[in-house]
């Protein structure tokens, strides 16, 4: 029965700190259903204190090393180690310059103490519908590298979250890397959000927009990622279709924003969330267009 939490301690567990990925994956396999992976801990430890999850084993990824890189080249695009912290991403001059929407989203998450520990990989694996890293990474068409003892595979982020707080990760699989393709020239992005009540608060609606506009004002490519408006973060595909291949005008932006709002299925505060989706998508599209102008 849910009662007001009167406990302060973490539940007891066995702490394991493998030195290699394969070791970690084996442990995860071995303790199926009884183990949780620990990255930054800013989410897992709260859930454990609340007794929402009580794992017998906690497998830390923090002793593995070199899982927190940020690399980029024009061929491969951006490669983010799953343990890159929100703050590192937000501060990265490379990301600020090339993938600003991602830096903006990471810079929005909670507050400095959480950003200094919380990781992009952890944020995605928690699969909270309001996870801020998801809308920009959806707009950037990120792929996730999942590693297990059977090898590794790439999964598009759009298929990764299967519901609120659930993912398609199988026992023994570990998210190790986020891959983002290089951007075409004349692309610009923006992440705008509203938080639930106060400024430092969970995101009520997050809207990430990435757009390429030709010199004559035609939208060549647009992707809109939305957070906290459905069971999982989503792409507003119909709104994108309205814009794609058309000359961008304030009127078209309004229509697309309205369309994006129509694609949402928020559970709580549904009307307000829908209305704010429209506002934020319109504002982010407008800003991006202005920037590309």
């Amino acid at each position: 029965m849910s009662v007001i939490l009167n406990l302060r301690r973490l539940p007891e567990f066995t702490y394991l700190a493998p030195k290699t990925l394969s070791e970690a994956s084996n442990l995860l396999q071995k303790y199926q259903g009884k183990a949780k992976l620990l990255a930054g801990g800013t989410d897992l430890l709260v859930r454990m204190k609340e007794r929402w999850v009580v794992p017998e084993y906690v497998i830390s990824l923090n002793k593995i090393g070199d899982l927190d890189y940020i690399r980029h080249d024009e061929k491969e695009g951006l490669r983010l180690g799953a343990l890159a912290t929100h703050q590192t991403v937000a501060n990265s001059s490379l990301i600020k310059e090339k993938y600003r929407l991602l830096a903006e989203a990471c810079g929005k998450i909670a507050h400095p103490q959480v950003r200094n520990r919380g990781t992009v990989g952890g944020n995605l694996c928690n699969a909270c519908p309001s996870a801020d890293t998801a809308p920009p990474l959806l707009a950037l068409e990120a792929q996730l590298k999942l590693v297990s003892s059977n090898g590794e595979k790439l999964v598009p982020l759009s298929e990764f979250m299967s519901g609120p707080f659930t993912t398609i990760l199988k026992e023994g699989e570990i998210l190790t890397e986020i891959q983002v393709p290089d951007l075409p020239p004349r692309a610009a992005g923006k992440y705008l959000w509203l938080s639930k009540i106060t400024e430092i608060d969970e995101t009520l609606v997050g809207a990430a927009v990435l757009m390429t506009v030709s010199s004559d004002g035609i939208c060549q490519q647009v992707r809109i990622g939305l957070g906290s408006v459905d069971q999982t973060p989503i792409r507003a595909a119909k709104a994108e279709a309205l814009l794609q291949g058309h000359k961008v005008s304030p009127k078209l932006i309004n229509e697309a924003a309205r369309q994006a709002a129509g694609e949402t299925k928020p559970r709580s505060r549904p009307e307000y969330r829908r209305e704010m989706t429209e506002v934020l998508v319109r504002r982010s599209l407008t800003q991006v267009v202005k920037e590309l102008d």
């Binding site: 007891e12 800013t42 709260v46 200094n116």
Partner: protein
């Protein structure tokens, strides 16, 4: 499950035997007796337990102590002594930037982490830097001004 670890706190190494499910907050307070790190909400929302780990502000209630091994931990006890206060501590006194004082150590450490990285922040950056803290007494503005005064002095 117990483990012996060495924690480097305020420049000193401490070899301690701890249960591995202990948070850094619990070990600082209960094992090392460093009571200046306060528990407010115990889940990362209030910032009272903030310490610096390798120069970064973190909520010590959301970090396992075992994971702090090998890192440089700074608590309020290492920030300045009674006889030689850190300029931020002096500014907090001059601007009356606290009342009950419960959230103060954490805010001071966040402010220090911010100024160490960005010695000349704007007001917005100062606010951002201490945005992970709740203070029910002061209304915050004096805290911002106190930090600003230190930033300006350094200029």
């Amino acid at each position: 499950m117990k483990q012996v670890i060495t924690l480097k706190v305020n420049g000193q190494d401490h070899e301690v035997e701890i249960k591995t499910h202990r948070t850094l907050l619990e070990v600082l307070r209960e094992t090392l007796g460093l009571m200046g790190t306060h528990e407010g909400c115990n889940r990362g929302d209030c910032g009272a337990c903030t310490v610096l780990v390798d120069g970064d502000a973190v909520n010590s209630c959301l970090m396992l102590a075992v994971e702090a091994e090998g890192k440089d931990i700074l608590t309020i006890e290492g920030m300045g002594k009674e006889a030689r206060l850190h300029p931020l501590q002096q500014a907090f006194i001059d601007y009356s930037a606290f009342q009950c004082g419960y959230c103060t150590p954490g805010i001071l450490l966040s402010a220090k982490a911010m100024l160490d990285k960005n010695p000349h922040p704007t007001v917005e950056e100062i606010k951002e830097g201490i945005s992970g803290h709740l203070c029910r007494c002061t209304g915050y503005t004096r805290i911002v001004r106190a930090i600003q005064s230190v930033a300006e002095k350094g200029r």
